[in-house]
């Protein structure tokens, strides 16, 4: 309680959009405590695209779930616009690894899921807009079952954007896609991000993906996860994937993680 009031006092108007303060997470497995996250601090600015990069099982998804309000941290707080996160909130939408779309609803139904409170006309207008934005025109009445993995992921992104959230959380959203589709989806996400100016927190284990997308890459250690380094990707979009700067940044992250970039 004392901690909370101190935090509130510190929440200055220019505070970060998302502020992660001293977050630790311990799970109990078979009666044994397992530390997953230890004392994480991270600020994300309004409109920033931040990738959280780490090996599988390092706890980066746990972190995203805490920020998203689905898990309560063992210690520490997450503030958004200076207010502590107490649960999931439609102002901040989570896009899941896969299977996040509702299979009983059409593309239209999914995209309109969060718009139940709107008047029918406004709802239809927004659905049409986001169907177009994610390139699914002509598929409005189709059920997810009949869509490819990439298209399903587009539906989920559109469903998230349709409620006009401030922040998007993406948890390895393209992990289940083939490499070509994944590359296309990254380009699409950047295009949408530039059009919609959302703050994005994107979790991935793919070094290339993080360097291609993010303003900053937060490199995590193995469990219990701490932040090893934060890498500024000082390259404007569109990024040249064979430029010297890109390769430098990518290789520095490979090194940071302790991988020689050879196979």
């Amino acid at each position: 309680m004392v901690v909370k009031s101190a935090l509130a006092a510190n929440a200055a108007p220019e505070a970060a959009k998302v502020a992660i303060w001293g977050v630790s997470m311990t799970f109990e497995t078979d009666g044994k405590p397992i530390d997953v996250l230890t004392m994480l601090d991270l600020d994300v600015r309004e409109g920033e695209f931040v990738c959280v990069l780490g090996p599988s099982g390092c706890g980066k998804s746990t972190l995203l779930n805490i920020v998203g309000g689905f898990l309560r941290p063992t210690r520490g707080t997450v503030l958004i616009d200076g207010e502590p996160v107490v649960g999931p909130d439609p102002r901040r939408i989570f896009v899941f690894q896969e299977r996040g779309v509702f299979p009983w609803l059409t593309v239209e139904g999914n995209i309109g899921f969060g718009l139940a409170s709107l008047a029918a006309e406004e709802r239809a207008r927004r659905i049409a807009y986001y169907v177009k934005l994610v390139g699914l025109s002509g598929f409005e009445k189709v059920y997810p079952q009949e869509l490819s993995g990439g298209m399903k992921q587009r539906v989920e992104v559109a469903r998230a954007l349709a409620v006009n959230p401030d922040v998007l959380y993406l948890d390895e959203p393209f992990g289940a896609l083939d490499s070509i589709t994944r590359l296309i989806m990254r380009g699409e996400l950047l295009r949408i991000w530039e059009a919609e100016k959302k703050t994005i927190l994107f979790v991935t284990h793919d070094i290339e993906e993080s360097v291609q997308l993010a303003d900053r890459v937060v490199v995590m250690s193995t469990r219990p996860a701490t932040i090893r380094r934060i890498v500024e990707i000082d390259m404007p979009h569109p990024r040249d994937l064979s430029s010297r700067r890109y390769i430098e940044l990518r290789d520095s992250i490979f090194e940071e993680i302790g991988l020689a970039h050879k196979i």
């Binding site: 998203g68 689905f70 649960g87 999931p88 909130d89 439609p90 901040r92 939408i93 989570f94 899941f96 299977r99 996040g100 509702f102 299979p103 009983w104 609803l105 899921f113 969060g114 059920y143 997810p144 079952q145 409620v163």
Partner: protein, 248 residues
């Protein structure tokens, strides 16, 4: 040609039945023509429609009462882990008891008549539907629940907009199977607990003069109605909003 395949085995059985009965005179089984005549006789007397309506009436009320109570009950049990933990042993204890074992008790409670039969059908459908609804809730993918919460749904909203539609494919299968069971049980219940219906027809035809043509006629009608009920329920599974739940 392909459309005839589903009828091939049935036609062959009819032919074999016809030939077998014609080649012997023991009277152990009435032939198809006798059965047809029996059906016609029942129709002319007005008994066929009367008995069909009686059986369907009991199934309808017993089954609907079970659906209306078991599904909400099962959904609640599935949602509250403690509810399931406390109820499950009892459910598993009651489940192996055949609904027919309840016949004496139901006659004791409700007397010989419709209520006793309806009660038996209710019992036969209630437990399987409860278990199915309970499991269906538990199998709702957590990702979908989280997505629902993320879009600001209340508990009620989550139930109506996520849990129910996610559970529906499994529920429909359970509804179809338990309607089949209800139809099995009504026949047995009518043999003992009431004085009308297709089950009663079978027992009555035998007792009142060994009219085995009418016995078999009753059996044929039971089979046909069961088939129609099942086809009707299967149509539900073809709905586009449900098909995702049945594999591809």
């Amino acid at each position: 040609m392909k459309r005839l395949i589903p009828f091939s085995a049935t036609t062959a059985l009819l032919a074999a039945w016809f030939l077998a009965v014609r080649s012997q005179t023991s009277g152990l089984l009435p032939g198809p023509l006798q059965v047809m005549r029996g059906l016609w006789e029942l129709l002319e007397k007005g008994l066929l429609v009367k008995y069909m309506v009686a059986s369907l009436y009991r199934v309808t009320w017993g089954y609907l009462a079970a659906v209306a109570t078991a599904i909400p009950f099962g959904l609640v049990l599935g949602w509250f882990r403690r509810g399931e933990l406390s109820m499950n042993p009892l459910i598993q204890l009651l489940r192996p008891i055949s609904p027919l074992a309840w016949i004496p008790i139901s006659i004791l409670w409700f007397g010989v008549g419709d209520t006793a039969a309806i009660f038996l059908i209710f019992l036969a459908s209630f437990l399987p539907l409860t278990v199915a609804a309970m499991n269906a809730v538990r199998n709702v993918p957590p990702t979908l629940l989280r997505a629902g919460r993320n879009f600001g749904l209340s508990d009620r909203g989550l139930l109506v907009k996520v849990i129910l539609p996610a559970a529906l494919p499994q529920l429909i299968v359970a509804l179809r199977i338990s309607l089949g069971v209800a139809w099995l049980v009504v026949v047995a219940a009518e043999m003992i607990a009431v004085n009308s219906g297709l089950g009663f027809l079978i027992v009555d035809a035998r007792n009142a003069g060994n009219r085995y043509d009418l016995v078999v006629a009753g059996m044929v009608m039971i089979g046909l109605i069961g088939l129609v009920l099942d086809i009707g329920m299967r149509q539900l599974e073809k709905m586009k909003a449900l098909r995702w739940g049945y594999g591809s």
